[in-house]
Homo-oligomer: 292 residues x 2
């Protein structure tokens, strides 16, 4: 018999991920802030729960996917939260991207109740969630990772056990530092190209095949030059992740100068009302911000 699962948080990512678990014929209980987000899952056989605690009570695996650290804390530690509902043997898997330090505290609280906690942030966006091709970066005990792995494989493709509790979140932050500073490389280079009157397509053709190559250049470069700022990944979400990265760096007495620069430029973007534009709008911000 399949174990019962709970999924809490049916945003863009969570909704698709819960859908994959349901499609794999696991009995699924769901909870999210806005019940209408669950309608199609309920039609497909999921059961509604009125609170995170109710969702978690009967579930062997409790998945969480919400926006930020306080949201996960509320879901787990709140009055009608997961923690009070669970007992020995239950496993909480947090797909949100949140603070590594807060993650370790949550894991300790769950362990005190006899449960286990995995941090398992994802990358790969909406497409990855829909097609179950996400990268999932997991922190926590190896035994819990192995128990969860068959379920994670329903949602992702590259699934890495990164280390102890918090290591999944830290690895996700490594990913976000790479993504955002490489985006800055592309933005600054293309602002330079435009200012010097170079041809867009010829420039991309000439530099995309060698040591300058990156996912950001191939995927966001053409959109920058077309002025297409529709979101793949929204600036306000990237900015949250960079805040987490800068805070985690501060705890190690590290000053991430390049990441800090992107954070500053995204702050400017948000003041310009670009919160929900895609991260490639960094190009537009750089066009103005780099002018002397």
């Amino acid at each position: 018999m399949q174990p019962r699962l709970a999924f809490i948080g049916l945003g863009i990512m969570g909704h698709s991920m819960a859908g994959r678990l349901l499609a794999a014929r696991y009995p699924l209980t769901v909870h999210t802030r806005t019940k209408a987000r669950a309608d199609d899952l309920l039609s497909d056989g999921a059961i509604w729960a009125d609170s995170p605690g109710h969702a978690a009570r009967e579930a062997q695996f409790v998945f969480v996917c919400v926006p930020d650290t306080p949201d996960v804390q509320k879901v787990v530690l709140g009055d009608d939260g997961v923690l009070k509902a669970i007992s020995a043997g239950q496993l909480v898997i947090d797909h949100s991207t949140i603070s590594p330090a807060a993650t370790r505290e949550l894991a300790a609280a769950v362990a005190q109740r006899g449960g286990q906690f995995l941090d398992a942030p994802v990358s790969g966006g909406e497409t990855g969630a829909r097609n179950a091709t996400l990268s999932i970066m997991v922190g926590g005990e190896a035994a819990a990772f192995n128990t969860a792995l068959p379920l994670l494989q329903k949602m992702g493709k590259t699934i890495t056990h990164c280390g102890p509790s918090g290591a999944g979140q830290l690895t996700k932050l490594v990913n976000q530092i790479l993504v955002s500073v490489t985006n800055l490389a592309v933005s600054e280079a293309l602002v330079f190209a435009r200012a010097n009157g170079l041809d867009d397509q010829k420039t991309l053709d000439a530099v995309s095949g060698g040591a300058a190559a990156s996912w950001q250049l191939s995927n966001l470069g053409p959109r920058m030059l077309k002025g297409d700022f529709a979101p793949g990944f929204m600036i306000k979400l990237q900015q949250k992740d960079l805040r987490l990265a800068l805070a985690a760096a501060e705890e190690q007495k590290l000053h991430l100068r390049a990441t800090g620069l992107v954070h500053e430029l995204f702050d400017r973007a948000m003041k310009e009302g670009r919160n929900e534009q895609g991260t490639q709008a960094l190009f537009e911000v750089c066009r103005e911000a780099l002018q002397r």
Copy 2:
């Protein structure tokens, strides 16, 4: 009958490139500062000339590949230089990476003598030069580009006519901005990973396949973590290119903040005696420079 070629500057890049032209059975005259660098080419049938001017005199195509702007200026404009030796119909092709503004002046001077000038900086390093897989970014008139193309194809694979005189150099600088800021992304991310005790290989595995992917990450990341700073591309050469990029940006009243940051960190590297280390030593510099 094949046209006679001249090749001036037989450094690591120039020597391999001249060798490819000779292997394609073009009659070739060579000149370089240190005659011994030409020995094997002379054994293979190249003819020695005592000055750039002597090399250029009989050649329909004059290739130049020297380190920096003043070197090209000396080769072309000097007392025994190319300019005095050439007449109508001759084509000068400069493979050096130099100032776009100086390039336009050189092109104008050559045009005044009835000749033509192409800026044609390359990327792809020693391996690309040896295997004729270089990217060649060309600026100048389309007719001259088309005349030179069959020869460029003996040395490179991705050959782009980027635009008018200087556009090849500007495109090379776009490439170098991308390369160096992406290198900074990788360095800063891996310094963060190390400071947080993450496992090297698991971290690379988890982040290399998605939106964080880059040539710099795949190729330099593992070397950074192994402490292998043998040069693919030397810091002192990258630093020269960044100086050119920052100067060309200033002419457009652009302040390239990320590129400027890499330039500052490489300055620090050079003060530490890392001039001839590979650019991946930026990781070591970041380890110290990002400490609070």
